[in-house]
Structures are given as structure tokens and as C-alpha cells.
Symmetry: C2
Subunit: 187 residues, 2 copies
Amino acid sequence: MDSSFDAKQSILFSLRAAQLSKALWKSVEKDWQEWVKPYNLNINEFQILWVAHQLEGASVSGIAKFGVMHVSTAFNFSKKLEDRSLLKFSKKTNDKRNTYIELTEDGENLLLSILESYEKETFQVSEGALPIKELYGKFPEFSELMTIVRYIYGEEFMHLFEESLQSFENDFMDKDGTLLPADRSAK
Amino acid sequence: MDSSFDAKQSILFSLRAAQLSKALWKSVEKDWQEWVKPYNLNINEFQILWVAHQLEGASVSGIAKFGVMHVSTAFNFSKKLEDRSLLKFSKKTNDKRNTYIELTEDGENLLLSILESYEKETFQVSEGALPIKELYGKFPEFSELMTIVRYIYGEEFMHLFEESLQSFENDFMDKDGTLLPADRSAK
């Protein structure tokens, strides 16, 4: 087989990636919606709370970029969260152009309640990955996917991605299957 | 580490899968939209044409299931494609309950034009996978992802998935970087 670029192989791969990523995302989207609905949030609003918490004061454009949503979507839903006193907008003295978002205490508490309500059946993707976890001793790391997403979204995106998972790793502990802050008093 | 189910590991994995699948799907969606826009189609319409071609006469519910869209979405966009004479609806004598979809010659020709217009820059996911292809000699097969999608959507979905890629593999050939039907005269 010719090792140079091959249209047929490329389109076959694209269609495979399209079908799998759509199937995966639609499942995640549905499960995520169900998870946050009792808190009167949609996915975008939850993602904004989550990213603002993880990045500890992110700009609206940063949230949009990291949350893979339009800036206008990030802004409009942030406004709604501000109306509910879950976050506040601010300007930095050394950066008047960007608007930054910080969670209020209510926002942090709401986010914590949602995380605490996580149960193993919450996401089907996680259930579906259990056989892999049993086989290899850990959940899949999707290294091929990571390589592709790195190409498309760049290093900064991946850096934020790893950082946010790492900070989650540090901030929370598992107690009898429920998620708790690693040190409640430190907050 | 406890080998039993661990909420923290599970939620970390879920958030990883959510972020990656959203990022991947949003990129695919954007590229796909750009690709089919010149043909006055949206993604759902293209998917209906594609699935109807691949499955050689699929029911509307079959298209919805395989295309990961609501039945009403599949039905409404199929109607629009029928108005443009790209497909026709039919009932089978042994199955009066389901409505089947078959591409017209115009529909087949349009689909072919779209596939022929595929260029290597069409999908960023494909470009992003090239380093993996160079390293391993083939595009990634996403076996971890496939395992998870199989768990969520079931065997039939995966069977159709593999079958559709296989029939594409058989039906088309690559000529100097352009996709052509393997045997134009057979159609």
C-alpha cells in the first residue's frame, strides 16, 4: 500500500471518527443533562461553573475556549448564573479588556453538591469503560484521541485540560463512594 | 489502591471523556458542516443520505438510531430530501409499520459528488491523526472508544458501523487522491 496520503483511508478514518465522536458526545450530553437538571442548570451553565472553579478566575473567552462553546454562549449563560448569585464578574486592574468570572460561595457550594451527587451510574461512558479498567487496572487514557485533540486545539488547551483534572485530583477525596473536598476547612 | 469501584476515579474519567468527546465532536461537526454546505445540505441531511446509501434501504427509525439523532429529526429532514427528489419513501409489503428510505439516482449522484470533493484538509481530525498514521502505519482504530460505544449502543449499532465502513471500503477506490466508485458501470 502506498504510504503517501490516501484519500480513501483518510475519509474512512474521518467517517469512523465522526460516528464515534457523535455517539460518544450524544451519550455524554444526555447523561450530563440528567445529572445537572435537578440543580436547575443546563450543560453550558454547569461547564461554566466547573471551568471557573478549576481555573480559579477565568476570563469569559477562556471559559468559552476551554468549554468548546461560543463566546456569546459563555457570556449569556454566565449572566444567568450571575443573576442567581452563583458567580460574579470582575475586571483586573492590569487587564481592562477581559471580563473575569469568579464563583461566589453559593456557586462553590452548588458545584460541590453536584459533584457529591455523582453516582457510578451517572455516566454510561464510565460504566462502559469498566471492563477496560478491570483488564488494565485503570480507566482508558485515550492517548490517540488526546494526540488528535492536541493537534486541533493546541498546547494551551491540553495544558488547561491536564491542569484541571490534576486540580480536581488534589481537591477532592473519595469517602465510601461519595466525593468530598480533600480539606473542607481550607476553602 | 482499592480495586473496587472508586467514585473519584470514575468522575475523573467521565470528565475526561466528556471534554474529549465534546472537543472532538465539535471539531467534526464544524468541518462536516463546511464540507456539505456547498451542496445545500446540513449534517443531518448528509447523514441520512449516507446511511440510506450504506444500508441500502433503511427505515427512518434505523437511520435515526444509526445516525444518533431523534426519529423526528430523521423524519423531518428525510421529508426535505424527498421534496428535493433526493430520496423516496416506501413501505415494504411484509412490513407495513415502518417507512423505508431509498436514494434516487439524483441522491446517489449528489452523495458521490460530495465524496469526490473530499480533500485531505476536509477534516481536522484526519489531519491530526497523521502523526499516528506515520508512526504505526495506519490511522488509529480507537479500540477503547469502540468498547465504550459498544457498551452504550449495543452490538447491532457496532455491526452496522463496521458493515457501513466495509461497504464503503468495497464501493470506492482512490485515484490520484480523488475518491471514485470502484465500478461506475455496476451502478
